[in-house]
Structure formats: structure tokens, C-alpha cells
Amino acid sequence: MSLTLTSALLVGLGGMAGATSRHVVDQQLVGKWSTFTVNVLGSIALGFIVTAPVGDVTATLAGTGFCGAFTTFSSFAVGVAELVDVGDYRTAAWYAFGTLLAALVGVVIGGAVGGSVG
């Protein structure tokens, strides 16, 4: 991806929408289920976007911007570290690998749907 002002603005606008959408989900769901939900939903959506016949503008706005910001690695990693910190290794492992498995399956499903609409 090359640096352009247009792309940076599209990513910023998508990020604005993605962050506020994530924040709204945070207010509906308790704790780590919120982070799990946004990460899996966002992975399904990004899997769709990268295989569907969308243009560069949509991919940058909705993919890099919205999906990138709607999902979050930092809240996830801090959540795992906090579980490890209190000695709850079992929940930490479930959270870490459950998110990974669900997100990867989500990417495959989203990608299959995106590829089929071409």
C-alpha cells in the first residue's frame, strides 16, 4: 500500500466509525465477550472484503479503516495478561485460543462468501 493523503483520510474515517461501533458493543456486552465479539465479527467482515470484488476505496475505508479499528489486539492482549496476572491460566488459554480459532474460521467463511459474489 503506497502512502497517499486520500488513503490516509479514508483509513481515518473508517477508523472513526470502527472505534465508535466497537465502543457501542463494549456497552452492550460484558468484559471479554465484547472484545471476543468485535474481533470475530471484524475478522469475518475483513475476510469478505479481501476476496469480494470491491474497489480500492472500499477496501481502504471499510477494510483497513473500519475493520482494522473495530477489532483490537491491544485490549485482547491486556485481557490475557490480566488473567495470567491473577493466575487464571485456564481462562487465559481459552480466551487466547478461542479467539484465534473463531477469528480464523471467520476469515475462511467471510472469504468464501466474498469469493462467491464475484
Binding site: M1, S2, L3, S7, A8, V11, G12, L13, G14, G15, M16, A17, G18, A19, T20, R22, H23, D26, Q27, N39, G42, S43, A45, L46, G47, V50, T64, G65, C67, G68, A69, F70, T71, T72, F73, S74, S75, F76, A77, V78, V80, A81, E82, V84, D85, A96, T99, L100, A103, L104, G106, V107, V108, G111
Partner: protein, 111 residues
């Protein structure tokens, strides 16, 4: 909801996503995603243990730092790699990201 709550998250999301895009231009591919995820996890760990202001948490926590890092791009990039490459990418993001978050939390508590 505080009237400024969504506005602060939105401004932070704009900044965080744009910063992530700039890192991705400088370091294309999985390396850039790894860089933002590890750096963002460290800073968020330090941030949540030192800053208690709700407005600061909306702007920097939910906004900038959560949007700077990304799980979806990590997942899509991992799915596109070979089995070995995918496992290495998962191992790097998980091991370094968790350690970075833990270090950030530990550092923040010492302040």
C-alpha cells in the same frame, strides 16, 4: 452516556487508525501488523494502570490505542500464509503481544 464520550472515541479512532496505516506503509505486510500490535499492547497496559480519567480512557484507550492495533488484519494475514508461516505469525503476535501487555501493566503499577 457522556455527551463527549462517542466524540472522544471517534477522534481517537481516527488518529489510531491513521497511525496504523502509516506504520503499514513503512513496514508492509505482517511485520507492520506485528509492530502495531506489540507496541499498542505495551502502551495500553501501561495506560490502563496509570490513567484513571474516563475521558482520557475514551480518547486514548478505546480510541487511539484500540484502533492502532488490529486483530482482523492479523487473522486475515495469518490465513493467507503457509502452515509454518501462519504458526510463526501467531506465535510472534501472541508471545510478544502478551509479554508487552504484561510489561506495560507491571511498569504502570510501579509508577
Amino acid at each position: 452516556m457522556d455527551r463527549s464520550e462517542l466524540a472522544l472515541v471517534a477522534v481517537g479512532g481516527f488518529l489510531g487508525a491513521t497511525l496504523r496505516y502509516l506504520v503499514g506503509v513503512a513496514i508492509p505486510g505482517t511485520g507492520g501488523t506485528l509492530a502495531v500490535n506489540v507496541l499498542g499492547s505495551f502502551v495500553l497496559g501501561a495506560f490502563i494502570t496509570t490513567v484513571s480519567s474516563r475521558r482520557a480512557q475514551w480518547l486514548f484507550g478505546s480510541g487511539v490505542l484500540s484502533s492502532f492495533t488490529t486483530y482482523s488484519t492479523f487473522a486475515v494475514q495469518t490465513a493467507g500464509l503457509s502452515m509454518t508461516g501462519g504458526l510463526l505469525n501467531i506465535g510472534a503476535n501472541y508471545a510478544l503481544g502478551f509479554v508487552a501487555a504484561g510489561l506495560g501493566i507491571a511498569l504502570g503499577r510501579r509508577q
